[in-house]
């Protein structure tokens, strides 16, 4: 089960302890996270909610190894990622994590297929093997028929599917999504949420998602609220 009080089992799949994140803006200190704890089990689908500026993106970045906390530790699948060097962290991300952003962040000069292939360039797979993986990931994301299109030729929902295919192509353990439906209409948003949900269950991927949208949050297993630098469980949705 998900825990936010720091008493989770020793072996929880993703474990954060006493996370502090302080930003410095000139003289001013911005205490973004203070003493945050989190325990997540494998395959769970978590949604983070909270007011703008509460630190949701910050938390996701820390858990995904894109940034380091001011204090505190994070263990992912037994590895203490907070103690890894930049280089080791990059390597860890390449084989353990997929990211999905609000603005899709595809490379506009590459086709959908080539965008999905990028993470595999860091592996030792042959061209043929890469092709198999890419097509499978695009199949799962239901976008394989658009593989030769450029991002500018795709709708928002389709671009997000490509970016999801890119995120899962190297079979990661974790998927971090920062407002994946934030830029989509209701219908496409629902489709993307259904896709994320089914991928999570089908591939046993642990998904951590930030969202503003209660409707999207409903598709998750657990909703956690970020307030005053820590997570609060079970606050009723409005």
């Amino acid at each position: 089960m998900v825990g936010v009080d720091g008493t989770g089992t020793k072996s929880s799949f993703l474990k954060a302890r006493n996370l502090d994140k302080i930003y410095y803006r000139g003289e001013e200190e911005i205490h973004c996270l203070s003493g945050l704890n989190l325990d997540v089990e494998k395959g769970e689908f978590i949604a983070f909610m909270g007011p703008s500026g509460s630190g949701k993106t910050t938390l996701l970045n820390l858990l995904g190894g894109l940034d380091k906390p001011t204090r505190g530790t994070i263990f992912a699948n037994g590895i203490e990622i907070t103690s890894l060097s930049e280089n080791m962290l990059a390597k860890w991300r390449s084989s353990n994590v997929g990211f999905v952003f609000q603005m899709y962040n595809l490379l506009p000069v590459l086709t959908a297929y080539q965008n999905v292939e990028i993470p595999l360039l860091l592996t030792s797979l042959s061209k043929k093997e890469r092709e198999e993986h890419v097509l499978l990931a695009m199949e799962l994301a239901k976008i394989v028929d658009r593989r030769n299109h450029y991002p500018s030729q795709l709708s928002g929902g389709q671009q997000q599917r490509v970016s999801i295919a890119r995120a899962i192509v190297s079979s990661p353990l974790f998927l971090f999504c920062d407002e994946p439906t934030g830029d989509l209409d209701r219908k496409s948003g629902d489709e993307i949420m259904d896709l994320l949900r089914s991928l999570s269950k089908q591939l046993d991927i642990t998904v951590l998602m930030v969202t503003h949208d209660p409707h999207a949050a409903e598709k998750s297993d657990t909703v956690l609220h970020l307030e005053k630098g820590i997570l609060i469980e079970g606050k009723p949705l409005r």
């Binding site: 970045n61 995904g64 894109l66 940034d67 930049e86 280089n87 990059a90 390597k91 860890w92 991300r93 390449s94 084989s95 994590v97 990211f99 952003f101 603005m103 962040n105 490379l107 506009p108 000069v109 590459l110 080539q114 990028i118 993470p119 360039l121 860091l122 061209k127 890119r166």
Partner: protein
């Protein structure tokens, strides 16, 4: 290698920018090629100059003559292999714009000393038999359409009148930098026809047995004739040629510095373009880092991109310059030797590499240092 398509995609991203960047490198290195051809034109005498030849001129000025009687004295010196002399004629063919050097030389010895000039044996014998005979370099002959047997009238600016010569031989060179534009005729004919200045020659060329002797023999010659009415100044041919170059050196300096400024400006522009293009792509680099591309891999990819531009544009520029110089002197006589040497080509490619690298370094550093969180926050 598998990252190539990333590179290719970036190049296609903004076609006009790619075209301009390639164009800048192309222009810069075309310029480099042409400037080095001009430079070698100015320095050709220096490059060609034999290390085993000493030029003996009048101490007061190179345009002042020396007595013919000195020749025997040079022969008596130890380490001297051969001696010859030459005098500047100073004329032109039909039009003063038709510029090529005419020299009255001691025909018995001159071509032994300048053994790099190749002349067909029969032609040389014909030349020796004709007191009004002349020998012309292949380039000049081709340029004015001179054929063996032609009568060539030269208008003598110094001596006056029109002097007619019969073309008996055409010489070729052994190295690309050999000057094939000169016009030689018998010193005896000059001696016979000129109204004054008899018994004098322009300068001597003393061939020595070993280059190491150059300094001591030069010193010896100059001391023999010190305190005589015609004091000498001896130097290796290289130093002598340098003296000539210095007289036109200022022009060379101006051309070369203008060239260098243009060259550097173009490179600054390309470097700046690279920097801009990388800055625009901050978010993309951040995404690549998110995916797990290491800082050093992205550094390497950025440098490669810069090198790609410099190599594509630069080598095309050098190549076109080379093709252009293959056609020979474009000025019609002022740059008798106009070519890009192997050394200059190598230097050019080295510069392509260096500048490609340099203009990639700052952008690559930016990419290397880019922090994911900040770059993504900027979207």
């Amino acid at each position: 290698m598998k990252f190539l398509f990333l590179l290719a995609a970036n190049i296609k991203r903004k076609k006009i920018r790619t075209f301009l960047t390639l164009g800048s490198y192309f222009t810069a290195f075309l310029l480099f090629g042409l400037l080095s051809a001009i430079k070698s034109a100015f320095n050709q005498g220096v490059d060609v100059a034999g290390a085993n030849r000493i030029v003996v001129g009048n101490k007061t000025s190179i345009i002042m003559p020396l007595p013919i009687s000195y020749m025997e004295k040079f022969f008596e010196l130890n380490g001297v292999k051969n001696v010859t002399y030459a005098s500047w004629f100073g004329g032109y063919y039909k039009d003063p714009k038709n510029f090529f050097a005419q020299m009255a030389v001691d025909s018995y010895t001159y071509f032994d000393v300048y053994s790099e000039f190749k002349i067909e044996k029969n032609q040389f014998l014909d030349f020796m038999k004709d007191r009004q005979g002349c020998i012309v370099g292949k380039k000049t002959a081709e340029k004015y359409g001179f054929k063996i047997g032609d009568k060539i009238p030269i208008i003598a600016s110094v001596w006056g009148g029109v002097w007619e010569f019969n073309l008996r031989a055409i010489y070729t060179g052994t190295k690309p930098e050999d000057d094939l534009t000169q016009f030689f005729f018998h010193a005896s004919y000059l001696e016979e026809r000129r109204p004054w200045g008899k018994g004098m020659v322009g300068w001597y060329i003393v061939e020595i047995e070993k280059p190491e002797l150059a300094f001591s023999i030069s010193r010896e010659i100059d001391s023999i004739f010190s305190n005589s009415p015609y004091e000498t100044k001896s130097d290796t041919e290289k130093a002598f040629a340098l003296g000539f170059v210095k007289q036109i050196g200022n022009i060379e300096l101006i051309i070369l510095s203008i060239g260098a400024i243009v060259f550097l400006t173009l490179l600054l522009v390309t470097s700046n373009t690279m920097e801009l293009s990388v800055r625009e792509r901050s978010a993309e680099f951040a995404v690549l880092k998110t995916i797990g591309f290491s800082d050093s891999l992205l550094y390497f990819l950025t440098i490669s991109e810069s090198l790609f531009y410099s190599f594509m544009g630069g080598s095309l520029g050098i190549l076109v310059a080379k093709l252009f110089t293959l056609k020979g002197d474009p000025t019609g006589g002022f740059l008798p030797v106009f070519y890009i040497s192997m050394n200059q080509m190598v230097l050019g490619f080295l510069l392509i590499f260096v500048f490609g690298f340099l203009s990639g370094i700052l952008p690559a550093r930016r990419v290397y240092k880019l922090r994911i969180v900040e770059a993504l926050g900027r979207i």
